[in-house]
Symmetry: C2
Subunit: 342 residues, 2 copies
């Protein structure tokens, strides 16, 4: 099967070329650094990191000391820093500004060897709650237009330094262009139909069933219709919700459940793959403004998960044109078939 | 130095984080397959490929036999094929179409061991002329909206199968999204200023000098102001020209010269790097239409060259947001300093 598919949100076309399904996949497992003794993210090594910004701890436990569940610290090599003004300026034709922003690390657990695919439900929920907490906090700064929460797992996915499971938070004074494209696409659809396109996609995917990996009361995991990569997944709330930070307690339980199960599936089928996981959230627009009113109705947050199974990424950088060697329906079927008792 | 820079054409922001200039670079040389005996692209092995679509040969030389300079053949595993109708259709919300298109390979030389960086000027010119010839031919088919000419050099850049130097041509019924973004950006600027933004950028870069690697009568090589990757380069014609295929003979000489020199520089400084080189050309719009008239004035073809020196590519896929660990001015300086007599 070979066909061209259009992503309904951004309008990007992808060639699905499912003739060569497996020979392109890179199934090397992630290279784990077992050296817990020198890991600054392990419990008991709190003095080896910068002082924590915040942490989830049982009552009575002291900051920057053992006994925490999740810790948030400043990135030691931040790509953006808080200590300067925006300094927006033109240089002839060109526009630039200072590297204003925030770069934080969320240490996901005290345990060096645990990760998304094998956290217990309580720990998974704490991590997802920590994301919410950092977003709420950082969006108070109106200079910061976007809060990016993401995780690079494995060297091939860009995790260069420390093997101990961690997520990153980057808050920027600009909205990333992929998000801008999504926002433009959702706005256009809303103007035409007065409905959220993600809600419509979810409705259709639940009816079609062929690309849904699983669902619970609040969420579903699916393989997007115009996936760029094999086993690319998205996790979306069923309820229309523009901002991740509006998630409620019961929903956080459902999300923890499906999130952990989705990564368990990927882990089983791809044997501990390298991956990128990125939260696509609404930008930090002032609620009073007209623009926000629309975004509140037409945008719909979700996680995007990209296993790094392609040996290479070629001319995609130059063109935005992707060739996916695996049919999304096949990927969904494979993921569904995983025995989660293993 | 860390700052945020905006690409003037697409509006994409990049973090230039030049504190960590070198430790992120992957300088492993390309893994050359020296097995000329079994290489189907070598001279004398013409019977091991499909019959040639066309070739540059000295007069009197026979098709599909030795004695050629440049050969164009169908890709043996095409991602698109000519033998079907477009079959545009909706599946609920989703849009798809058949894999209509063309996928060709241009074997750049009979010599297994030569490449962009060390072709003589005559051979380099033949290759660039072959690109022109294929574009002119393929644009006659009005179903094909875009002709992509590109080269993946080295496994890390997506060249999976054959080490013998070759380029690829993919003609598609849709315009790739990166190009759409460029076209939208150039149109917006033209509507505002009635000038081509690329022409304005060239004028400013030639004045500023800090990002120009070199120039000759017809062309210049520069490191873009908001480069996404270390040593990313662009080669642009100084004369306003929307379509590559409008290049004239004298210009083809100038282009051959600067093209070969640019790759020579990259080869010296990065020790035979893996790279992607993509021609950004105007889409295949009917000249009579109003749209074409505008594109003719506001678009400006160019080559984009991306050395694959980043050990990783992380959350960039999810966000379109890039962190470049090297200042473009430093990259330009390094490239300028290369001794081309080596």
């Amino acid at each position: 099967m070979t066909e061209l598919r259009r992503d309904p949100i951004t309008g990007r076309w992808v060639i699905i070329n499912a003739q060569q399904e497996n020979h392109l996949l890179d199934l090397r497992p992630v290279d784990h650094d077992g050296d817990e003794e020198h890991c600054p993210f392990c419990e008991g090594h709190e003095d080896q990191t910068s002082a924590e910004i915040c942490a989830l701890r049982p009552e009575g436990s002291k900051p920057n000391a053992p006994g925490w569940y999740v810790r948030c610290i400043p990135n030691i090599n931040p790509v953006l820093t808080v200590n300067s003004d925006l300094g927006r300026r033109g240089v002839g034709l060109f526009d630039m500004m200072n590297n204003v922003g925030v770069h934080e690390v969320i240490i996901e657990s005290p345990d060096h060897r645990k990760d998304y695919h094998d956290y217990g439900p309580a720990q998974m929920k704490r991590i997802l709650a920590a994301y919410r907490e950092r977003i709420v906090e950082l969006k108070k700064n109106q200079h910061l237009k976007y809060v990016l929460v993401f995780k690079n797992h494995g060297k091939r996915a860009g995790s260069l330094h420390i093997a101990h499971a961690h997520s990153q938070v980057i808050a920027t004074p600009v909205v990333p262009i992929r998000l801008k494209m999504e926002l433009a696409g959702t706005r256009k659809y809303f103007q035409m139909k007065e409905r959220c396109i993600f809600c419509d996609v979810i409705r259709q995917e639940l009816k079609d069933e062929v690309r849904v990996v699983e669902q619970n009361d609040g969420f579903l995991t699916l393989v997007p219709f115009a996936s760029r990569f094999p086993y690319e997944c998205a996790i979306l709330p069923k309820r229309h919700m523009a901002r991740y930070e509006d998630i409620e307690e019961k929903e956080l339980d459902d999300l923890s459940d499906i999130f952990q199960r989705t990564f368990h599936r990927l882990h089983q089928i791809l044997h501990d793959p390298a991956y990128n996981c990125v939260l696509h959230d609404a930008p930090n627009t002032v609620p009073k403004k007209g623009a926000w009113k629309t975004i509140g109705k037409d945008y719909h947050w979700h996680f995007e998960i990209i296993p790094r199974t392609m040996r290479t990424a070629g001319f995609e950088w130059g063109t935005g044109f992707h060739i996916n060697p695996m049919a999304p329906e096949k990927a969904a079927e494979d993921l569904k078939s995983v025995d989660l008792s293993e």
